[in-house]
Amino acid sequence: MKCSQARRLFSAYLDQDLTFEEESRLRAHLESCTDCTEEMARLEGVQSLLQGLPETDPGPGFYESIRRRVAAGEAAEPVPDGRSWVDQVRELWSTAWLRPAAGAAFGLVVGVLIGTNGFLGPGPAITGEVESFAEAPAEPTVDLMASGGPLADIELPAISDSVALDDGDEFILEPYATDGQGNLAPYRRTVNNEKNGQARPYITF
């Protein structure tokens, strides 16, 4: 086994992720190669430094603070500046969720706005990966699609948390629209992009 081949196996060796044969060949190489043995020791050192980091203490009153926020119906992530539309909708919705009357009014208003009988409520978070970029409309929009076709196109205010994305980047988005059965409706969202000079990539989820 060459050194370059051996070193490609080091990380998997540390995680005990090698086959029996791979491990045997690597061990044989290490017995005869001082450089690789030292390199392996340094990688083990990295792992032991990371594993040696003490667990962060969340501080006193952690649970009580959560409890107060639950009781207050708070759900929006504390954002020091510039909340996204998702955060704003979530905050509105979470407040309504703990106040039935407000919730009903909120649902009615939104129902009228989108012009469907669809139920509007928090949908499951989606984690995705950027699949493609394309030209996007001038204004950010979200198309809500039900299984039979589009529910509605909602024009949104400018998205405040523009993020730099590239092919293969992962992201998360928490949609707040589901169909009448509570299922998440497929949708698309556009975001601004500051990377590679692409002004408004069209991101497909």
Binding site: R8, F10, S11, A12, L14, D15, D17, A41, R42, L43, G45, V46, Q47, L49, L50, Q51, G52, L53, P54, E55, T56, D57, P58, F62, Y63, E64, S65, I66, R67, R68, R69, V70, A71, G73, E74, A75, E77, P78, P80, D81, G82, S94, W97, L98, R99, P100, G103, P122, P124, A125, T127, G128, E129, D161, V163, A164, D169, E170, F171, I172
Partner: protein
């Protein structure tokens, strides 16, 4: 909404005597869930997934237990990811808030730990995107320079103030190095070597293929090895 009944009153009424309290049902004046000691002991032994079922049914004791079980791990993960202890505690609170708010979406088919780590990682990533730069963070180079010629301090395991100071110094250096990694490498190495998740769990948390997990861990470790060379070189030979 049926959830309102389960979630308890938002007005801060006390839970009914003799019954497990509901999350959100107590006022801030209550300092701990009012369950009996026996109930708490039995809850402490329940797996995460059973606790989630009880939380859906409105048990505050179950939610408190889940928070106790994961508060250190979640705060630690976010802290190591964003390199800001105070903000990490706030984000960790948000993670548990979301667990509670979205409790009905959790499915037993998946491990609870991967679900909560997914939420934590995504909130941490959002935080990084929002922050254009860190304040009050020393560069890795300056931290390494500050260790000066105190060679061998990693090998010094004798307890005492000097050892403690060295531990803090090492922690800062390691944190600075982690923070120099791109987020996609930072998240895999934190989940693997700090949180001790398996490859399969990391795949689920990050929703990326196993091969990508392995290659990113490999790259992250090698990048950290290069950055930490000055202190790794002082380690005694094994």
């Amino acid at each position: 909404m049926g959830e309102n009944a389960k979630a308890g009153s938002p007005t801060g009424k006390s839970a009914e005597p003799g019954r497990p309290s509901r999350v959100g049902a107590g006022g801030p004046e209550n300092t701990r869930p009012p369950e009996s000691e026996g109930v708490e002991l039995s809850i402490a032994k329940l797996p995460d997934e059973d606790l989630m079922e009880r939380i859906v049914d409105g048990s505050e004791a179950a939610f408190a237990q889940l928070v106790r079980r994961y508060q250190g791990k979640v705060t630690n993960l976010v802290h190591r990811f964003i390199y800001d202890r105070d903000r990490a505690a706030e984000i960790a609170q948000e993670v548990f808030l979301r667990v509670f708010m979205h409790r009905k979406r959790y499915r037993r088919s998946g491990k609870f730990s991967t679900w909560i780590y997914t939420i934590a990682v995504n909130l941490a990533k959002n935080e990084i995107r929002r922050k254009s730069r860190l304040k009050g963070v020393m560069s890795l180079d300056s931290l390494l320079e500050a260790t000066g010629d105190s060679g061998g301090f990693l090998a010094d395991k004798r307890p005492g103030p000097v050892h403690t100071a060295h531990q803090h110094q090492v922690e800062e250096i390691v944190m600075a190095a982690i923070h120099k990694l791109q987020p996609k490498y930072r998240e895999v190495i934190l989940l693997r070597d700090v949180q001790q998740l398996t490859y399969e769990e990391i795949e689920q948390v990050l929703n990326i293929p196993g091969g990508t997990v392995r290659s990113r861990i490999n790259r992250a470790r090698n990048a950290l090895k290069d950055m930490l060379e000055p202190i790794l070189g002082r380690r005694p030979a094994r």
